[in-house]
């Protein structure tokens, strides 16, 4: 606990007061006063939310499918395949997206052959590219969290609900959702935090045009050596993820109490 908290406190202290510079709280104001940092902040949060949302949307049915597989060896094979993207080198993985999203890449070739478009569409170095990259990167975390939550769900509960005449919709909203809320929150936390802090994916798939909090932080820390602003951004990133995660936890407990 100490090893976890001390660096955090040190970071926070550094962003507020520095022995050589005195109070530096005004740097927080400076961050939010700049139009660019605001844009970057909102962009990062929206990216985090949208990736998390879509990951949940795709991840839930995927996790249900994995759990429904009765054959043990088949199921462990599926799990291995799921974890596979997490085990490949992030730089290599991101660059392989270039081969898919490039103007002479897979998708554009398909679009051109099917005559959906006359000239290649720009897919790389857009927000869409960053979105897809992050989704592929973090979807496994969502599926894994949901799979373990669904596995812990007593098998007879859905059966009982069914036999008492619950519709599929009711079964999902009143049995599955509340009983797996813990897993949902965990999955969302992992995916959201991952999206906010990821560096390689936005740097390589978004480039300079799609500046995010993490790439802005890197710029401040490594290029202009403005460590105070870098710490301020780090604290803002940290507090934002904590706030979002606390919120999602609160929402899920309300759901359970009902």
């Amino acid at each position: 606990m100490i090893f976890f908290l001390l660096p955090l406190l040190a970071m926070f202290a550094e962003s507020v007061y520095q022995p050589t510079k005195g109070w530096v709280v005004h740097r927080y104001l400076e961050f939010f006063r700049q139009r660019l940092s605001r844009t970057v902040y909102v962009r990062s949060l929206l990216m985090g939310f949208s990736v998390t949302f879509v990951a949940l949307l795709i991840g839930y049915p995927a996790a249900m499918a994995v759990v429904s597989v009765k054959n043990d060896s088949l199921r462990s094979l599926l799990m291995t395949l799921l974890v596979f993207p997490l085990m490949t080198n992030p730089v290599a993985r991101t660059f392989s997206w270039h081969a898919v999203l490039g103007r002479e890449g897979l998708i554009n070739n398909l679009l051109l052959t099917l005559k959906f478009t006359d000239s290649p569409v720009r897919l790389l170095y857009t927000r869409g590219a960053v979105f897809i990259g992050l989704l592929q990167l973090f979807l496994p975390l969502m599926v894994i969290s949901l799979t373990s939550a669904l596995e812990n769900l007593p098998k007879d509960v859905p059966l009982a609900a069914r036999s008492l005449g619950a519709s599929a919709f009711n079964l999902f909203t009143r049995i599955y959702l509340p009983l797996t809320s813990e897993g949902i929150v965990t999955g969302c936390t992992l995916v959201f935090t991952g999206c906010i802090t990821a560096y390689v994916t936005p740097a390589v798939l978004g480039g300079s045009r799609v500046l995010m909090l993490s790439t802005l932080l890197y710029q401040k820390a490594s290029i202009t050596l403005d460590w105070t602003m870098a710490t301020v951004i780090a604290v803002i990133m940290f507090l934002s993820t904590v706030a979002v995660n606390t919120l999602s936890r609160a929402i899920s407990t309300i759901g359970v109490k009902k």
């Binding site: 660019l36 103007r103 002479e104 790389l124 390589v204 480039g207 300079s208 710029q219 202009t224 050596l225």
Partner: protein, 340 residues
């Protein structure tokens, strides 16, 4: 037991004679070749063992800042911009060039590249234009060709946060407004804003750019000479252009840390690195282009280096101090322009 004594005596001899150590902060590239061309001969010649601390420019500069009161490093290798930042942070001491016997043999631009004798350039590289000769049928001759319609959407430029970015912007300002030293770089920013839609991406590393060339995404870009060899290895039909407005010149430099413990060793190391022997060995292994004018290399080596009278003569150098003074402002302006 005897073995133990032999070992003990050997240790004592080493302790008494003392193999001197020199702490050098540098990049982690080509370490095998550096050992062959520098570490081993340096130890043999002066009896000084080089200990390297590795990392990129900013990480190593950060370390110097934290060690300011009790420096560990004696000599540091930097790109010129980071050397200037180190000067600004009071981390370096001026070099007494009268102690360097090989100083007279290096190019003038390497003699005092950042001013105040705080650095010695030990290698040089150019940035010219590289383009696909199969896709662009006419000859590219000028930096202004990036604004031509026939290359629109197929070009890439270095990001302002790269070492080359701000220098390129100063060059653009020179080309379009006649003056490189405009603190606002008004003309350059205006021209890059015009170009923004036509740029595939503003690249940050040469490996990223090589990849974009390989995929056919980019046909033309400013390229650093030290990565030219890797571009040639792609097998693509490429040409290197020396633009009529000149190529950009960059030096990597050696500096002595303020309060260096082994000052004598530091001078020996710097003198050794700009010596004919080391400069030739490093050039032949394609590690670094020479600044020592006496070094002669065969054509097949020269074409991969920043080398030769014509090539060197076309280099344009700008004052790094001006960049350091205005860089924050330029980066914000760039972010506003590109990332909005």
């Amino acid at each position: 037991m005897r073995k133990f004594f032999v070992l003990l005596i050997a240790l004592m001899v080493v302790f008494v004679l003392g193999v001197q150590k020199l702490n050098v902060s540098t990049w982690g590239f080509n370490l095998d070749l550096l050992d062959k061309n520098i570490t081993k001969p340096f130890l043999e010649k002066y009896g000084i063992q080089i200990e390297r601390e590795l990392g990129n420019n900013s990480v190593r500069l950060s370390k110097l800042i934290t060690q300011k009161d009790n420096p560990v490093i004696d000599v540091v290798h930097f790109a010129d911009y980071f050397a200037m930042l180190a000067v600004k942070n009071g981390l370096l001491q001026p070099i007494d060039v009268s102690k360097l016997s090989n100083y007279k043999d290096i190019y003038d631009f390497a003699k005092d590249p950042i001013g105040g004798n705080y650095a010695i350039g030990y290698t040089v590289y150019s940035m010219g234009i590289v383009y696909r000769t199969d896709k662009i049928k006419r000859a590219i001759t000028s930096w202004k060709d990036f604004w031509s319609k026939d290359v629109a959407g197929r070009i890439s430029l270095p990001d302002i946060t790269t070492t080359q970015g701000p220098v390129m912007m100063m060059h653009f300002n020179k080309i379009f407004a006649g003056n490189a030293y405009d603190p606002e770089l008004k003309a350059a920013f205006q021209k890059v804003a015009e170009l923004k839609k036509n740029v595939v991406t503003f690249y940050k590393t040469s490996s990223e750019l090589i990849n974009l060339f390989k995929m056919g995404e980019v046909w033309m870009a400013p390229v650093t000479r030290f990565s030219w060899g890797q571009f040639l290895e792609t097998g693509l039909p490429l040409a290197w252009v020396v633009p009529e407005e000149g190529m950009l010149g960059f030096t990597n430099v050696l500096c002595i840390v303020k309060g260096a413990k082994n000052l004598d060793g530091a001078y020996k190391y710097i003198d050794f690195l700009i010596s004919y022997e080391v400069q030739l060995a490093e050039a032949m292994d394609l590690v670094d282009s020479p600044v020592n004018v006496k070094v002669k290399v065969p054509p097949e080596i020269a074409e991969k280096l920043t080398y030769g009278e014509e090539h060197i003569k076309s280099l344009v150098f700008y004052d790094i101090k001006f960049i350091v003074e205005n860089y924050d402002k330029w980066i914000s302006k760039w972010n506003e322009l590109i990332a909005q």
